[in-house]
Symmetry: C2
């Protein structure tokens, strides 16, 4: 399947694996890239040596293109950028900060730049400044979220942008991929679907909880404070949302949330940790290899797109 994204990155299928803290490392990223998508190593919350090592590991595990997600709010962002440039990955996705000052530097090192943008104004700005593509991520995504939904972003942004648009948030099956391509996307980014892979290091208890979860189990904490994080409803979220609605000071909320992602993903504490996963939970029912998942997704995408021929008659 050829799209502007597959051409830009030199990949077989228009699917990027989303950067997920504590989960997206060399093992998962290389598996996705070997399967024809584009894997991503998430640098958020990591030190430079970890990032360098994971990039090198991934290069040993695949000769296909993969990327790194850089959190531009991280205190060590400049050092991370240095390491990524030295190690030369195929592309970066840039979130949570202003990507513009970094575009030229990455380009000088032959690295494609794909900022994550929350609205049309910023999409236009990064396109003008030379970004190679953008990611628009709806608030049905797991983890840190903005305010617009995936459908709203696709409606509001795609018609006005010439560079390739990668759509993320709530896409968990081939129907969602087909819908995004139909709306004009060049590809999709999926996180949650790749949590449930044999290659993902997410703690087995968290995987099991996601397998069992249904559509009403998703909750977004912190939205009223402008710091939305989507995860599964549990002891942690009950406590957090109650405090949030009571008007508790932000420091108290931050203290409660600190380290909870790691607690769930690494330690397997699925009650007091934050299980970051998107809202499209009813179709996440199986753990498979990244290869099987991508093959299944692409088959369903094609089948869904072919239905459009019938409906459109």
């Amino acid at each position: 399947m050829k799209t502007k994204l597959t051409e830009l990155l030199g990949i077989k299928y228009p699917v990027i694996q989303g950067g997920m803290a504590w989960v997206s490392e060399a093992n998962l990223a290389s598996a996705v890239s070997n399967a024809g998508g584009a894997g991503i190593i998430a640098a958020g919350g990591r030190d430079t040596e970890w990032v360098r090592e994971e990039i090198r590991k991934a290069k040993e595990m695949t000769d296909k293109p993969f990327g790194v997600n850089v959190m531009l709010m991280a205190p060590n962002k400049d050092e991370i950028v240095e390491v990524v440039c030295e190690e030369k990955v195929a592309f970066v996705t840039l979130g949570a900060g202003n990507p513009v000052p970094y575009i030229e530097k990455f380009h000088e090192h032959g690295i494609k730049v794909i900022p994550v943008v929350p609205n049309l104004k910023l999409a236009k700005r990064v396109a003008e400044k030379g970004a190679d593509a953008i990611v628009i991520e709806g608030m049905e995504a797991g983890g840190h979220i903005g305010s617009q939904t995936t459908l709203a972003l696709m409606t509001n942004i795609i018609p006005y942008i010439d560079i390739p648009v990668v759509v993320a948030g709530g896409i968990a099956d081939g129907r969602g991929i087909a819908a995004a391509l139909l709306m004009g996307a060049a590809g999709v980014q999926m996180g949650s679907r790749f949590l449930l892979t044999t290659e993902s290091t997410l703690h087995p208890k968290a995987k099991e909880r996601i397998l069992q979860a249904t559509d009403t189990d998703s909750v977004a904490t912190g939205v009223s404070r402008g710091h939305g994080v989507r995860c599964l409803r549990n002891t942690f979220t009950e406590e957090y949302t109650k405090l949030e609605a009571s008007g508790a000071p932000q420091e108290q909320l931050d203290k409660l949330a600190t380290g909870t992602n790691r607690m769930a993903a690494v330690d397997g504490d699925i009650e007091r940790g934050a299980i970051l996963v998107g809202q499209s939970l009813n179709v996440l029912n199986e753990i498979k290899s990244a290869q099987e998942i991508i093959e299944d997704l692409m088959a369903q995408t094609k089948e869904t797109l072919q239905k459009a021929c019938e409906i459109g008659k």
Copy 2:
């Protein structure tokens, strides 16, 4: 364009105009029905005589099918249901309450029943109890909203439901309609798009504000309290969201919000009133007749589906 929805309601195009308080009356509903969609009169906040009169007016203005939206939290819901049954409209949409006790009664009067459901569990329940179709409405919609987005709802619900599914929330152009149909929807419900019609009675100042609004102007108030309402950012929403985050008592928030929908829609107070409109704002740039809007939408829907057909080849 034939779908399960056009067959169910006997309409030409799979487009329902969403029920919008203070705006959806005989004039707009009949215009949409005359154009080949299905108009809706919104009974929420109205007395029985108003509803009876609007149904009769609409019947004079169109011989095509139209419906009534009944708010099941309204204190006069039972009287409204009586009037709708006496006056016999083609269908009802039922929101904000339990629709099950009303299905049989409407059916006895030959009225099709289309509940609005927030999750898969309730979708299955109303389907079992004889509902003719369901509406799933994402939180990118204007007005009262749930927590799931349109894409999440389409992903989570459509594969598991046999009755026709009408998709609402954030659909503002033919691309969105095509995406919904591709995901397996039998049709769509659109509200915001029909606010900007020559036939809509929305105050001209509110129409003008929506025309000017862009994607960052949308805000959802009350989400942290479980009573989300989406509208345009203005003096009212700034005050409300500040109070909401401060932990103010719900009564204080309710007092601030009471009457604000009418203030914007009827009185044209676009700073202290609540301008209810969805999140897909960048493509809402023109006021046209309902007929023109529906023709344009259908042309774009077909064109988009044909493109999808090409991509899938």
